[in-house]
Point group: C2
Chain length 185, copies 2
């Protein structure tokens, strides 16, 4: 069963209105108005400022106890009250990718508490991770988060905690795109 590619098109169309595009580490992405998310077969927006692609694939580090804990509390995407979103594309260094699996896992979880920290922000923040590296894209992952306006401060806290970790020393490009889903017109 082939895996489906998801495409994020920043242009003049889409359900999400872009409110900020910040270059956190490395090169920025151009500002744009709206973000459309869909299958990669979607026709490209000719006015697109940028297009990113990723695959929601299998988990690379999660253990059984972590997976069970996540499944118990993680909310679905698309909740009606989750009108805020963040698209945070990330690229890690060649030094990261050259590490063996056990050392990547050790930095990510034993030293940086990436999975354990994330769980404490559930169910306020719904998340999906898209793998991009194998697609020859400029980022290794596209991380997507949805939350209600009243959880915005919690989300800033989560992002801030992760950026202080040892794992983040291997991040060589990170852009933070913030979005809101407009009320029905």
């Amino acid at each position: 069963m082939p895996v489906e590619t998801t495409q994020f098109v920043a242009g003049t169309r889409g359900e999400w209105r872009i409110t900020r595009v910040d270059a956190v580490i490395g090169a920025p992405l151009p500002p744009s108005q709206r973000l459309a998310i869909g299958p990669s077969a979607t026709r490209d927006d000719p006015s697109a400022a940028w297009v990113l692609r990723g695959v929601a694939s299998y988990a690379r580090y999660t253990t059984r106890p972590e997976q069970d804990a996540l499944v118990a509390v993680q909310p679905p995407l698309g909740r009606a009250d989750a009108r805020c979103a963040a698209l945070i594309p990330i690229a890690k260094s060649e030094a990261w990718w050259a590490l063996p699996q056990d050392e990547r896992r050790h930095i990510l979880e034993q030293r940086s508490r990436h999975i354990a920290t994330g769980i404490t922000y559930l169910p306020a923040v719904a998340r999906r991770l898209y793998q991009s590296r194998e697609l020859g894209q400029p980022f290794d992952f596209l991380t997507w988060f949805e939350y209600a306006p009243e959880s915005a401060a919690r989300f800033e806290d989560l992002v801030g905690v992760l950026r202080e970790t040892e794992e983040w020393r291997f991040v060589e490009r990170e852009v933070d795109v913030r979005l809101v889903r407009d009320e029905e017109a």
Copy 2:
């Protein structure tokens, strides 16, 4: 640094002559004459019987001791005497991909000795693993092996041992393509 996609084109061209195409598990691939391997930007052979794409990406299960052991003994591809090759595309079941990382690792290595077994066949057999799943391809991996004619029996032994493992119960499609590099004309 974007990762490069490698394309395997079975048609009338290419360095490798196809000697056999066997469906081991599940649907076959059509027989063809030759295999050309190159970057995905290469123009497609209009006569191609099939085209498979993959990415030589980071190791998903290898630990530091295993990686060090592999680096110490694994030969490069393209050795002059390694005139035999095998391209073995493999797809695993959804049940495999739904397992958390620690359980996949446990089946692959603690129970199936995939990495440890592979090491014992080095340096006779040179190998490269291409990830295909994220590219929306019909296979999850394209495994590529090169060996000298005098190591052919050893290679059959390696393939036979792996196919008897617990890991292989999760394989739902496997095709075995054998090839030879012709002597200079």
